[in-house]
Assembly symmetry: C2
Homo-oligomer: 115 residues x 2
DNA sequence: CAAGATACCTTGACAGGCGAGGTATCTTGT
DNA sequence: ACAAGATACCTCGCCTGTCAAGGTATCTTG
């Protein structure tokens, strides 16, 4: 629970799209790579993960196909679309803006005294 | 709407507490100061604002009292408690950690290759 | 006296996260 | 042969925070 999930809320889609920029991948593996990147401090809950896949597919950001594994559990691979890349770019820009904004808002300083 | 509210979600409490660290203040004015700090790019919706006040008061982070204005609309002032200051500190720490984590997760790089 | 600003509040809907539960396959140990 | 665990997918229903829409009351200005 270390990190409040509300702080991550709204980033789920961005996180997933980022994992698909370089190559197609499947859900289980995507989540593993997220855990690795955060040294186990964070993982998407399965329900969250698969909900996000549906959402992203519905909005045309990703497409999916079944892998042709001859052995082991079936895997549904996801592929990012051009729309998805555009969306990813927008989300990154939004994040940068939001980050700055939040930093400005949680400061205790009296005045911006801006300009 | 410029900034998706889901990106700010979970920061509302922190933002409000930050505005109360230096002095008591009332809702309307707090929201004004938020707009000023972001040059009009962001504001809390009233419903969100007052919901947050209830939440923070219930959890002992703030207390409230009616101002003694002789004229104009009544104002309910909010004051941060010691608990609130502690919580604020924790939230700031959480934010720093979350910020780093998100940055790490939305990068497109293949490997952390970290240490 | 209407309009707009100040200042507060509540209700109900909505969306995203997630706990809990489920399915099916393969591997390993006994 | 079979139980246990890992891999890999999925859905249902609840919870929580946000917010559109509506409301109240006061003061100022034209």
């Amino acid at each position: 629970m270390s990190i409040a999930s509300d702080l991550i809320r709204g980033h789920t889609d961005t996180i997933i799209l980022a994992r698909l920029i370089n190559s197609d991948n499947y859900g289980y593996e995507i989540n593993k790579s997220i855990q690795q990147r955060t040294n186990g401090k964070y993982e998407l809950k399965e329900a969250t993960l698969y909900t996000a896949f549906r959402r992203l597919e519905q909005s045309g950001c990703i497409t999916s196909y079944w892998g042709d594994e001859q052995t082991g559990a079936r895997r549904r691979y996801y592929s990012i679309t051009d729309t998805g890349r555009d969306t990813y770019g927008t989300l990154i820009t939004d994040w940068k803006a939001a980050k700055e904004m939040i930093d400005k808002l949680i400061e205790t300083g009296e005045e911006d005294n801006g300009r």
